[in-house]
Symmetry: C2
Subunit: 355 residues, 2 copies
DNA sequence: GTTTAGCACTCTCGGCCTTAGAGTGCCAAG
DNA sequence: CTTGGCACTCTAAGGCCGAGAGTGCTAAAC
């Protein structure tokens, strides 16, 4: 059962019938995209009530801020607050079909090269299944273990560092050195680091080297000098930067709700603007279970007509990242939520197998 | 001087005045985006001609297929054929300002990790400067030299291969082996390969190994068996896959010409659909200088209202890739062409320095 | 022969009105 | 509390009209 935490505040109690009507209204609106009138709702609700009665209830719901009329004589549309209540209390989320789960599993269990590729694949998958935009933060670990390091001289003062981390993550960076090093020196340094630190967390590596540097100062032999200069620069920045992958943006162009071209453009630009979304995702990192942001709850004004459904994925209790989809507020939550939830679990499982 | 090869056919000669009028009309249309009428053109042309005369000329140009009226009483708009003639024969391309070139150079000369990153950066740059979508094919070389190879055991039958190619391109792939190998065996194999083949083209490596395999058959010692199995799989596929990077797609949402949401969506999907565009770019690989595709000249119906301006970039006569921009047919060719041209040259220079 | 003025014609665009339809709010009766 | 009735409001779509822009054609001028 996903915990769908309310981000916005608390709701005064509504009587059973009123809640039911709100539920039916939201469901209907999600299906049709048209404001729902009293007659329609009377028919859909399955209660023996006349449109007039329904009208009274709807007027109440509007007063309480759950509904909104686009104009005097259109039906009602849920407000953000209405969606919130719907999701928190009214929506029932059917579990995903076994066959569907199987399909997802098969697509996720493809062998891939590294975290980023996996993220891309899963993001693609999410967007394909939900027909919305899929987002996956690339897995990042609090404890990154060094598996292997290699130094290759490129030119005078430039050295290529190849870093193998964790299970199969390979990174490379180029560093500027103060003096030229020979291939032999570099080799020795790498050998030393590998022998000493392979399997250790890179935090530890950094600390150990710092200690060595302080204690021994300039009594270092040439080998250790090389080691220290290399390592200093190599481990300067955190090796696994935060990042995410978006796929299926084009789906957002199809849903009529987001037809305002200019809004859409801003949204797309937000996708490229990394930092905005990252900050949002950080919030989700430590909530467990599915989280949903409706409209501006997410903090950014570009997301006005959008909802974001996210779930963190964890391995052995350690949160590795967040994934989710982004689409119009008027989305089929009853399908999207289980898809996101299951995908997160499957991704976690896939990462677990890899290790 | 860019060679702007005509892809479409040959044009019957038009007299001087007619050509001039076509030129002015296209320029005006590119500026305003409004169909150009006879009165406007009479004023703009700088010839002492009445609108009536202009009308006659425009009627001729329409008959010849260079112009088109949206309806009876709007001005004229260039057809694809009209643009073609304009670009091939009428447009004069001013060289880029020195300061502007300097700005481009500085942005391209940033140090980067590998070809893909560089492509991303240049693509970003192109799109930023032209306010269109930028596309850069990641550099690929006919002769890829092996610089260094490393094997790391991951699990039972999986080995991580780290390949350093050319100047600073690092690739990694995971291969499945028939039997488990120890770290020591793998190390020896890597050492052997590095000793034997570092600096050689991978084509040569592949051939040499094949020869060894045939000649010596099962008289191979254990080391060589390891070497051969590793190398076989490592060099099976070409290490540098074709790929490209697109940036600034959102710019295309701003230009009024492409306001049809559905067309735009298809265009965006084409960007993700790699293979379509790759095939187009392959054509440009061996044409030297700037090439321009107008509308459906590019072969795809999604590109109806678009033009593509491309240029290959080469190092020492070897074509490494293609870059360019894609935007509405109604774009400022006189600016875009030199930008694309210069960027190609600068990228080539940057790659040259790296080697 | 080319250029030009004149003129009738065509087409779009915006504003305005009208109508049909949907839905509401309120009131008074059940 | 529920309901039928009713007046009211608002939108969406269609039709109409006039202004404006631009054309093609013709006949006269150069």
């Amino acid at each position: 059962m996903p915990s769908r935490d309310s981000v916005a505040g608390h709701h005064p109690s509504l009587n059973e019938r009123t809640q039911h009507l709100l539920k039916v209204l939201v469901e209907r609106y999600i299906r049709d995209g048209q404001p729902v009138g009293s007659r329609t709702l009377a028919r859909d609700a399955g209660l023996e009530l006349s449109p007039a009665t329904i009208r009274n209830v709807m007027a109440d719901l509007e007063d309480l801020g759950y509904l909104h009329s686009p104009h005097t004589s259109a039906g009602r549309v849920p407000t953000a607050r209405g969606y919130r209540l719907f999701i928190d209390a009214l929506l029932n989320v059917p579990p995903l079909d076994h066959r569907e789960v199987e399909i997802l599993r098969r697509r996720i269990d493809q062998p891939v090269q590294n975290g980023a590729d996996l993220a891309r694949a899963v993001s693609d998958l999410l967007s394909g299944v939900t027909r919305l935009a899929g987002i996956v933060m690339v897995p990042r670990r609090n404890v990154v273990t060094l598996r292997h390091v290699e130094f290759l001289p490129l030119s005078e003062n430039r050295v290529l560092v190849v870093l193998v981390l964790n299970a199969q993550e390979v990174q490379n960076r180029i560093i500027q050195t103060r003096r030229p090093y020979t291939a032999l020196e570099l080799n020795r340094a790498a050998q030393y680091l590998n022998g000493q630190f392979a399997g250790k967390g890179i935090q530890q590596v950094r600390e150990a080297l710092l200690r060595d540097l302080r204690e021994t100062r300039d009594s270092l032999d040439r080998l250790m000098q090389t080691v220290v200069e290399m390592a200093e620069q190599t481990f300067e920045t955190d090796p696994v930067g935060e990042d995410y992958v978006v796929a299926g943006q084009t789906h957002l162009m199809q849903c009529a709700d987001l037809s305002d071209l200019d809004k859409l453009r801003q949204l797309f630009e937000a996708f490229n603007h990394k930092s905005d979304l990252l900050h949002l995702f950080d919030q989700c990192l430590h909530a467990d279970g599915v989280q949903i942001f409706i409209g501006e709850e997410a903090g950014s004004s570009v997301l006005q007509e959008c909802s974001i459904v996210t779930a963190p994925y964890t391995v052995e209790g350690q949160v590795l990242g967040v994934l989710g989809v982004i689409g119009p507020t008027r989305m089929a939550y009853d399908r999207v939520i289980p898809v996101v939830e299951v995908t997160a679990r499957l991704l976690a499982a896939a990462l677990n197998d890899q290790d």
